[in-house]
């Protein structure tokens, strides 16, 4: 194929990697010669090369060579031109291209009387230049390029009385040189020993014919010669190991003498010959066949493969035109080496397959799995445990960093919903505190604890406003205050401990003489009935108990006012910020004000107040404070765990996945947290899916497919990538496939099935590619998805509805209009995007509900009816059935908020902190409040039971739905069951 044209009687290619598209041509005319540096760009439309440099020679050039030499001095190498006047000129290609004035670096003269007919650089030592003329000479430019040493190849001279037509350095052994002369003789020289070592002569030798000669670049004992002989235009390949005659003879192709020969540098099987008959023939000497044959309309003088541009060669005609051509590609037969990958490999999961040219077998390799720090093994153990509680237990028993141990303890207490557990986790031992209290007061409190335990069975009332306080309530409160102050006075026989410090800070007047000082004023006020004055005085002098007693005896308003005054005038931090809010039942105020360092006290107190309904909200607020005020994620996360707020938990954990270990711990925590998270959150799902995918990728990269599958099971059903990976892991051929298939349900195929269309066989004879009557069966599908049935149904319907278009399609399969008719109703899918299955809905239909779908095995119209195309399947039909959600086993349904609350109210009222004196009052208050409202509550309980029943029913329904495959009921997510067998 003709690519570019230029001028030139001969050419030589650049051997520069970076400048492979450079060609020097010698244009001879009556005034001498011009060397032209041609550059070309195959992509450009113009058909001529661009001349980027020229050098003028006063004599005609008879042979050319170009080689890289001393790149620091001659970055683009040296061009050597032999002339008709018997000398060689060496040009610096770089300065020629840059049009510097003197690009000729050396003239090697006094070589021959006649023309220099052959020239070649030694590739290994480019300072050695072999020359042909009257005889063979070697010029060595290594010492002095201006005055090179010139010597002969040795004696005797094989080419006596004839002139040289070709010289060629051996391509493997640097000191071996071959030469050919007009008398048909080819000689081989050993330059190390300076003597001829081999020669052969064409039997039909006539004088004055050009013999072309080249060493085989691959096999150093082989040499190709071509004869410019009209009677026998042959290409011969001689092997020195077999000197009797040529090993291979190519003849009968050229009709006239062959006057140029080039061995392909990029595929050593290929030789190119050009003849006086205008033919260019590409030979494969290994298969001994003609690869391509091209007839040109001019006599060929010179021809060269490009050294570095594969498949490209240059051809010069005797009348001085040079063209750049490429080997016609794609003809049947031999494909050149540069197109044929000799080696390659492919991966699938933990397997690598590879092939090599010299091996007909495909070698497969097994890639081992790796498990740094047994992370995956323990993750698998975690996932294979069936119940949440056991998982938590497993993690609690494990050696963890301290923070994880704490997280798991908290989760454990949340999971148990046991206040004692909470308190213990927060660092408070109920028993210890009870003991301390008893020591101090000399009074048993354990009994009270027992009573509370009994009351735990009763759902706790919601928080009540203080304004509704009853007399009895206030009385109890007041009594406690009194007791407390009495106890304090009786404390002489009990040992002091640190808890008593609070008492010490109280300002209790020691004056018991009510006839002097403030006491007298109080008494006087009482006498005159000025209770408010008495209260104020009592408060001011620190007789808080008396003040409150008095206030209580008056009215609710006065009591409330007094209490407020009492609490707000307190300077004690604890009283002001904690006790006040406990009494006033504003636990969120505690959250806002409590010293963060002791947040656990706060947590415990809120837990014990009757505002446990707000416990989660308050813990969330405390967590938020940790983030906002201290950026303390460790404590914040603990608060969020107690708050059962999955979204806030994951927002912290998502920042801690830099190492595989951290990521795995985070995922384990989140697997459990998501079960208890009080609210469903898209943010949680999105973040958790991201973490799961990251973990799954890690696992797959370590060839831990089971771990990946376990983790992916917890992803949300609308995470397409997770569905795809799960499908891939379930069905894929890898070492964990058996166990995954054993323990997991088969996931639905997460892609939309689509039918391939019959294409039009282009530009070739129409040939039936399949038996026309052969029914076309679908490939066995691993999972039949209802989506697809729907489509089949629609296809059939559409076929029935559009009989005309169908007929048209049959009659004129090439008609573009037909395609339009059928395709138009349905916009073609955007092929750049993945066809996502419709998002699954949450509940399965009742199993007995008749399906709307047609029978399952509708075949698409077989190809018989439509030999050239298939109907495009409708894409936009909204599926009535979602693809079933992949699932391992029916997990417990996500906690229903209502149900949860009722559970809470049943279990949370246990109040082990009551023994502490300040809370005693509140506890008692709570007790009578509970009793009071018990009747009201009964109605509430009834309601709750009704709700629970409803939940139960839903549960049962869901489970029934699950029992009927396919499809398994779309479930949110859940733990896989333990392996059936281990």
């Amino acid at each position: 194929m003709l690519l570019k044209t230029t001028q030139g009687n001969m050419s030589v290619w650049s051997n520069l990697k970076s400048q492979s598209n450079l060609l020097v041509t010698a244009v001879n005319d009556q005034w001498g010669s011009q060397l032209q540096f041609n550059s070309f760009n195959l992509g450009q439309k113009n058909t001529s090369t661009s001349i980027i440099g020229t050098v003028t020679s006063k004599d005609a050039v008879s042979c050319l060579a170009w080689e890289n030499f001393a790149p620091e001095t001659y970055p683009m190498g040296l061009v050597a031109a032999g002339t008709t006047e018997g000398y060689v000129a060496l040009y610096d290609a770089n300065s020629a291209i840059n049009q510097e004035e003197e690009s000729c670096v050396s003239i090697i003269d006094q070589l021959y009387e006649g023309p220099v007919t052959a020239i070649e650089f030694n590739e290994f030592k480019p300072n050695l230049i072999a020359l042909g003329g009257q005889d063979v000479l070697i010029a060595d430019i290594v010492k002095d390029i201006q005055n090179p040493s010139v010597f002969g190849p040795g004696n005797p001279n094989l080419h006596e009385d004839s002139s040289i037509t070709a010289v060629s350095w051996n391509k493997k052994i640097l000191h071996i040189l071959a030469s050919a002369s007009q008398n048909g003789l080819t000689g081989v020289w050993d330059l190390r020993n300076n003597k001829p070592i081999f020669s052969f002569q064409d039997s039909s030798a006539v004088s004055n014919k050009k013999v072309s000669l080249l060493w085989n670049p691959e096999i150093p004992t082989q040499i190709a010669v071509a004869y410019d002989d009209e009677r026998a235009p042959e290409l011969q390949i001689w092997d020195l190991r077999n000197p009797q005659g040529p090993s291979i003879v190519f003849s009968q192709v050229h009709r006239s003498g062959i006057n140029s020969l080039s061995w392909c540098p990029n595929d050593h099987s290929l030789l190119l010959t050009g003849g006086r008959d205008g033919q260019v023939v590409c030979w494969n000497y290994k298969t001994q066949s003609v690869v391509s044959q091209e007839q040109l309309d001019f006599e060929i003088a010179d021809l060269k493969w490009s050294k570095r541009v594969t498949s490209v060669y240059s051809i010069s005609s005797v009348d001085g035109q040079t063209s750049i051509r490429s080997l016609p590609s794609g003809k049947e037969g031999y494909a050149p080496k540069w197109l044929k990958p000799p080696v390659g490999s492919a991966y699938a999961f933990d397997q690598l397959a590879s092939f090599k040219e010299n091996n007909s077998a495909i070698q497969t390799y097994q890639i081992g799995k790796s498990d740094p720090d047994n992370i995956f093994e323990s993750f698998n153990a975690f996932c294979s445990v069936d119940a949440e509680q056991n998982r938590i237990q497993l993690e609690m028993e494990k050696q963890h960093d301290q923070q994880y141990t704490q997280y798991w303890k908290l989760i454990n207490s949340v999971q148990k919903e046991d206040k004692k557990e909470y308190l213990a986790t927060l660092g408070f031992s109920v028993q210890e505190i009870t003991q301390q209290t008893e020591n101090y007061t000399g009074k048993r409190h354990a009994k009270k604890d027992d009573q509370n335990k009994k009351k735990n069975q009763v759902p706790q009332r919601p928080a009540i406003d203080f304004a509704t306080i009853t007399d009895q309530d206030a009385d109890s409160f007041f009594n406690d205050l009194t007791n407390q102050s009495l106890n304090k006075q009786q404390q002489t026989n009990t040992s002091r401990n640190q808890d008593v410090e609070i008492f010490q800070s109280e300002q209790v007047s020691k004056n018991t003489n009510w006839n002097v000082g403030v006491e007298k004023i109080i008494k006087d006020n009482l006498i005159v009935g000025n209770y408010e004055g008495a209260i104020d005085c009592a408060l001011k002098c620190g007789r808080s108990a008396e003040a409150l007693l008095l206030a209580y005896s008056q009215s609710k308003e006065i009591f409330e006012q007094t209490m407020n005054t009492f609490l707000t005038t307190q300077t004690d931090y604890f009283l002001k910020n904690v006790l006040k809010h406990i009494v006033l039942k504003h636990p969120d105020e505690i959250a806002k004000n409590y010293e963060l360092n002791t947040w656990k006290e706060c947590a415990a107190m809120v837990l014990n107040s009757d505002n446990t309904g707000q416990f989660h909200k308050i813990m969330e607020q405390v967590g938020d404070r940790f983030i906002a005020e201290r950026k303390d994620e460790f404590n914040a996360l603990q608060c969020y765990i107690l708050a059962m707020n999955g979204e806030k938990c994951i927002k912290i954990l998502v920042n801690h996945n830099n190492s595989l270990k951290e990521l795995t711990e985070a995922i384990k925590l989140l697997i459990v947290i998501q079960e208890y998270s009080l609210s469903e959150s898209d943010v949680f799902d999105r973040l958790f899916d991201g973490l799961i995918l990251k973990f799954a990728n890690y696992a797959i990269q370590h060839n831990q497919y089971l771990s990946a599958a376990y983790a992916l099971n917890f992803s949300s059903p609308d995470c397409q990538r997770a569905l795809e990976l799960l499908d891939l892991l379930y069905k894929g051929n890898h070492k964990d496939r058996n166990i995954i298939q054993k323990i997991m349900e088969k996931p639905a195929f997460p892609f939309k099935y689509e039918q391939i269309k019959m294409g039009i066989v282009k530009q070739t004879q129409a040939q039936p590619v399949h038996a026309p009557n052969q029914p076309v069966s679908r490939p066995t599908r691993p999972a039949v998805n209802q989506h697809q049935h729907q489509e089949d149904h629609n296809v059939r319907q559409q076929v029935q509805q559009n009989p005309n278009s169908n007929a048209a399609a049959m009659n004129n399969p090439f008609g573009p209009n037909v395609a339009k008719v059928v395709d138009d109703p349905v916009p073609p899918p955007n092929r750049r995007q993945v066809q996502k299955p419709a998002p699954p809905v949450k509940t399965a239909p009742p199993p007995n509900q008749p399906k709307k779908q047609e029978p399952q095995n509708i075949q698409p119209p077989p190809f018989v009816q439509e030999p050239f195309r298939q109907e495009q399947q409708p894409q936009t039909v909204p599926p009535t059935q979602p693809p079933p959600k992949h699932h391992v086993a029916p997990p417990p349904p996500p906690p229903q908020p209502q149900q949860f609350q009722s559970n809470q109210q049943q279990t949370l009222p246990q109040q082990p902190f009551q023994q502490q004196q300040h809370q005693q009052q509140i506890a008692q208050q709570q007790q009578w409040q509970q009793e009071q409202q018990q009747q009201n509550n009964q109605q509430q309980i009834l309601n709750q039971r009704a709700q629970q029943n409803a939940v139960q029913e839903i549960k049962q329904q869901t489970q029934q739905g699950k029992g009927v495959p396919p499809p398994p009921a779309p479930q949110r997510r859940g733990p896989p069951p333990p392996p059936k067998k281990q």
Binding site: S18, G344, H734, G759, I760
Partner: protein, 274 residues
């Protein structure tokens, strides 16, 4: 890390030029100079199909996504692109005849949309939705296209050529592919180009200059890493998630296969051998 496992008798009478696993890794298909595609069942360890495609070397093959069933595309030196589907037997579904050699084919991930690179530098896109008619055909390179690769979401197509260039073409909503990057870092023929299977902006390439180059495609193209293998790199293959990379090359007639593992920041280093 890598241990030799079983050998599969290829059943080819001459050189193999490409092998590919199907989506689930159950089947391995190979194609070669004898014009056959052979399919092996990896678990059963036996050949399950032998499909005569052409009397001409087949350079490349590609499995479709399984949502279309088992579909294989291949291309030959004599210029035929053909698509086969497994029914009871393997059946030719469509074909396209190009004038010159077609050296590489690859389905867009998840779609029946086939990109093919030719010896004269053209990219041909064939589309199932157009009954395998040519969607686009354009001169992508000056010279032989040796390799091409889709990125994982099908938005980018990388091509590499004997013109020493790598080009990345962007596909946006049915518009004509737009040239997005031209990468000129190789000094010689670029034989293969592969996108990282997870990362849209990581592209590796190799060729006759012996260099494996890991490119980061951003606003500009950054050479993330260069490793000199001192051999002609013919084919590069990633494993499923791109943490392993195998470089297949040839040096002085010797074929070499070297596997690297991904380290930090998409740098690749030698694997531990045992």
């Amino acid at each position: 890390m890598l241990t030799e496992s079983l050998q599969i008798n290829s059943g080819h009478s001459s050189m193999i030029h490409d092998i590919k696993y199907d989506y689930y890794g159950d089947k391995l298909a190979s194609c070669g100079s004898d014009g056959y595609i052979n399919v092996y069942d990896v678990s059963k360890k036996q050949q399950v199909a032998q499909i005569k495609i052409r009397d001409s070397p087949l350079f490349s093959l590609s499995w479709s996504h399984p949502r279309f069933g088992n579909v294989i595309a291949t291309s030959s030196y004599d210029g035929e692109i053909s698509i086969f589907k497994e029914q009871k037997d393997w059946m030719k579904v469509a074909s396209f005849q190009n004038e010159g050699s077609v050296n590489c084919v690859q389905f867009m991930p998840r779609e029946l949309f086939l990109a093919c690179g030719t010896s004269d530098g053209f990219v041909i896109l064939l589309d199932n939705n157009k009954n395998w008619d040519v969607d686009y055909k354009w001169q992508a390179h000056e010279s032989i296209i040796h390799g091409l690769c889709w990125n994982q979401d099908g938005s980018l197509l990388a091509t590499c050529s004997a013109d020493k260039l790598i080009k990345v073409w962007e596909f946006t909503n049915n518009n004509k592919p737009q040239l997005k990057y031209t990468i000129q870092s190789h000094l010689d023929v670029v034989k293969d180009v592969q996108f990282h299977p997870l990362e849209n902006n990581i592209l590796v390439s190799g060729g006759d200059d012996g260099k494996l180059r890991v490119h980061k495609l951003d606003d500009d193209v950054v050479d993330n890493q260069v490793i000199d293998f001192h051999m002609t790199i013919w084919r590069i293959s990633f494993n499923m998630l791109g943490n392993l990379l195998t470089v297949n090359g040839e040096s002085n007639g010797q074929n070499k296969i070297q596997t690297l593992k991904q380290e930090n920041n998409f740098q690749y280093g030698p694997i531990d051998c045992n």
